[in-house]
Amino acid sequence: MDHPIVTVLIAMLGGAIRVSTPFMFVALGETLTEKSGRINLGLEGTLVLGAMVAYATSYLSGNPWLGVLAAGGAGVILGGLHGYICKLPKVNDIAVGIAFMSFGTGLAFFFGKPFIQPSAPHLDSIHLGDWTGNPALAQALEVNPLFFVGIGLAIAMAWALKNTKWGLIVRMAGDSAAAAKAMGVSVDLVRFLATAAGGFMAGIGGAFLSLYYPGIWNQGLSSGQGLMAVALVIFARWDPIRCIIAALLFGAAGAIGPSLQAIGITQGYYFFNAAPYILTLVIMILSAGSKGAAREAPGELSITK
């Protein structure tokens, strides 16, 4: 149990579980939005605003789950606005996303000032590893319920997109607006709803950051997690299950830096800390040229055109 490699592996397992959840939620939200044929780069702003709203709500109400809900609500508002604006002709959804990134972050910073210092009630976790008798492993297996919610959501989304009428409508809006219109589907409405729902999920991702891990609110809380999650969607090729895997991988890669230092490999930490970015880029380069990527991309997506 004491071998350094085991230590790093346990840390990576723990990192995957602890760090992946916000990526999961944002990536799933973005997957739904992109499946409908629209891209929302503003989920970073949604994530940050969600984190602030969740923390503030939990602090003021004493109920962290209410905070999670409020974060989702804030996400719906930002996502809905994005969805509404983008249906206007000639408006570029990528640009609006970037605008909402700065708007959401600005609002969160502006109204979040009084909540930096107070301690809000946190979300509880489920202790799955106490039987192991190894504190590191027990800690790694201490899991927040939202982690399972995220996995459940991914499975449900994957199933629903494939097997339900709603799923079909979303996919159709994303693959060919003309075909969807011919079927009498309001493409704008579908995309509006998909963007709002995507915002809801991203908001919850933010709530995880502020109410569980690392469990604080301040202006440095998200170091681009929302943006990276959008990257993971392309990396996961719009598949909810692969989003989960990508988020877990990214979380595990993030744990490499600190855990290598813990076992005494202290040189070059800047590169170990950049490991998640390098890894994502390498896998994107390796997988991007494949035929699968082109086939799986929603046809209406401005980013893949």
Partner: protein, 370 residues
Amino acid sequence: MTAETADAAIPARRASNVKALRLAETVAIPVGAMVASAVAFSIFLLIIGKDPVQFWQLVWTGGFGSSFSIQNSLQRAAPLILTGLAFAIPARIGLTMIGGEGALVLGGFSAAAIAIPLVTNAVPVWITLPVMALSGMAAGGLWLGVVGWLRHARGVNETISSLLMSYIAIAIMNFFVEGALRDPASANKPSTMPIGDAYRIGSIPGTDVHWGFAAGIVLAVVLWVLMSRTTFGFAARMTGGNARAAKAQGLPVGALMVVCCVIAGACAGLAGFFEVTAIHGQANASLVAGYGFTGILVSFLARHNPLTVVPMAILFGAIAAAGGVVQRRMGMPDATVLVLQGILFVVLLVSETFYGRFKIFQPGNTGDRV
């Protein structure tokens, strides 16, 4: 100008009228949007119990109210012109490249790094500075050129890859600045060796604004000519309009994309060079100041027109300059500026939808569409 008079005019005059109307539209809509966002932000201020009149007075005082304020705005605009161009040029060919930050950081770092042997050997300033500038532009150009090439050759999404490359660029700079290239004297702020006062590029004579501002304007004009008056620019814009059609026409789409990305990286790298030679005198973590990201906003507000980038960068410089005054006089937090920028950005993008919708800017006959 009414539709009737336009209708009655002779064809040549009519063409110029159409042009004038389009110009009027491209001025009126953004101005209208700015007014609308000012109103929206004033409402926000009223809701939180602050005085909008005082706010806008202070924005004027801090941004343009005195010769000091104007120079403050222009100086802050200098890097934003270059990073705005770094977003605008790829945008014209249809690429959403958000990696200007990384190219700036790497450009600044490589300018400072190449200066070390030159300064140590007392190479004359007139050789050293151009070499530094070229080194910065080359590093930035190469960095974003890779992004363009990956997009072309492997279909790797440029928005995401350029963002990832930014994180990696910052890690590279930090690694060297805190390691091999660290000046031992830079104790608590790891930096490369200072280039020394002799090698610092000063201000434009008679002002407090550094030369990066002038370089930005020159480059904006050059790139405007390139993008709107040359075959290259025409081909690039055509690719941006419809890449498949451009390819079908036999245009070298891939090469065009890579060149646009290299130009973008060179602009950002040049911004990094000026940060080193005009501001810091060395490379360190302060190069990561978010100019690359603000450049994205600048470019969108300028509708990716290289010439319009200049006033928009000045506008952002003025907002940043005024933000300080607002903090000091009204006790408002730093995030005020972020909220204002966010509203301005959203409203300006929404205003895109109004192009071609107002009758008064339309030539009388629909058959006239140019």
